[in-house]
């Protein structure tokens, strides 16, 4: 499955760079596929009692992951730009 997904992605990227398949923007295929997948992900959550009952807890855990991810991105890029002297003001 991993290989199939990476191959699909690579094939899409290749065709995109070759400027193929311009029609898909018009028929909004990405939003439609995304909504379908989110819907099916929802059905799995809804049908799973434990997962469903744990949703409030999952929300808190997810918030924590987001805070750590945001803090990590900021800290690392901040330190990098300070060391190399390429922060906002200097780049302008």
């Amino acid at each position: 499955m991993l290989v199939l997904i990476l191959l699909s992605f690579g094939a899409g990227l290749f065709l995109g760079l070759k400027k193929q398949l311009g029609f898909m923007k018009k028929i909004k295929i990405i939003p439609i596929l995304t909504l379908l997948l989110l819907f099916s992900m929802g059905t799995e959550i809804g049908a799973n009692d434990k997962l469903f009952n744990d949703l409030p807890k999952i929300g808190i855990q997810a918030f924590l992951v987001a805070v750590f991810a945001v803090a990590g991105s900021f800290t690392f890029t901040y330190i990098y730009t300070r060391i190399t002297g390429s922060d906002g003001e200097n780049d302008a």
């Binding site: 991993l2 909504l35 959550i45 999952i58 855990q61 945001v70």
Partner: protein, 198 residues
């Protein structure tokens, strides 16, 4: 910004309707079909990124800064989200994987849900929604301290949904870096998530 919020509400809506269908009608989408839709989605996402106007030229114009910015975001996100695993019943691999959406909640949620588990897929979806919301709130404030560090928190979303916000709060050069970071991270999301959960 109104558009971004509307999109977010529609996507959360699709998830909630799915939850209700699963809960009350025991409705189930066959696993093979999910895999097929996921492949199609990733394929068209690839086409979409590739078709972006003058994308290679824009990346090349400031390649070193864009690359270093992207690498720092990946390292920072992974190191810190690994720490988050000590505060919850998930392994380091799981919290790092959940954070590997870099704000792209729709893709990371559905990918992890089918590659790993619906539980972690949900964590990833919600977590990346929060990342986008935190970016909307924090970028205008943090840009006063350090522009590149500020746009870094937008992760993959800085090439499209949050590009306007980045350009409003930073110089032209830093907006270009933000755009490039978004492109490289968007390319990384399907690859990193596949590799983490292989």
């Amino acid at each position: 910004m109104v558009r971004t919020m509307l999109d977010m509400i529609i996507m959360i809506g699709a998830l909630v309707i799915g939850i209700l269908f699963g809960r009350f009608f025991n409705f189930k989408v066959p696993g093979d079909m999910i895999t097929l839709i996921l492949m199609l989605l990733v394929f068209f996402v690839g086409v979409d990124i590739g078709r972006e106007e003058g994308i290679l030229k824009r990346l090349k114009s400031n390649l070193f800064s864009i690359l270093s910015q992207t690498i720092m975001i990946i390292l920072g996100t992974f190191c810190f989200s690994a720490l988050a695993s000590f505060f919850m019943p998930f392994s380091i691999k799981e919290t790092v994987g959940a954070a590997a959406g870099f704000g792209w909640y729709s893709l990371s949620g559905v990918m992890i849900s089918s590659l790993h588990s619906p539980l972690l897929g949900t964590v990833s979806f919600v977590s990346n929604v929060f990342r986008e919301l935190l970016s909307i709130l924090l970028i205008p404030v943090l840009a006063k301290i350090n522009q590149r560090a500020a746009v870094s928190i937008a992760g993959a979303t800085s090439m499209d949904v949050l590009l306007g916000l980045c350009s409003k709060n930073t110089t032209r050069d830093n907006t270009l870096i933000a755009f490039g970071q978004g492109v490289l991270l968007s390319l990384s999301v399907p690859v990193l998530i596949s590799l983490i959960f292989m």
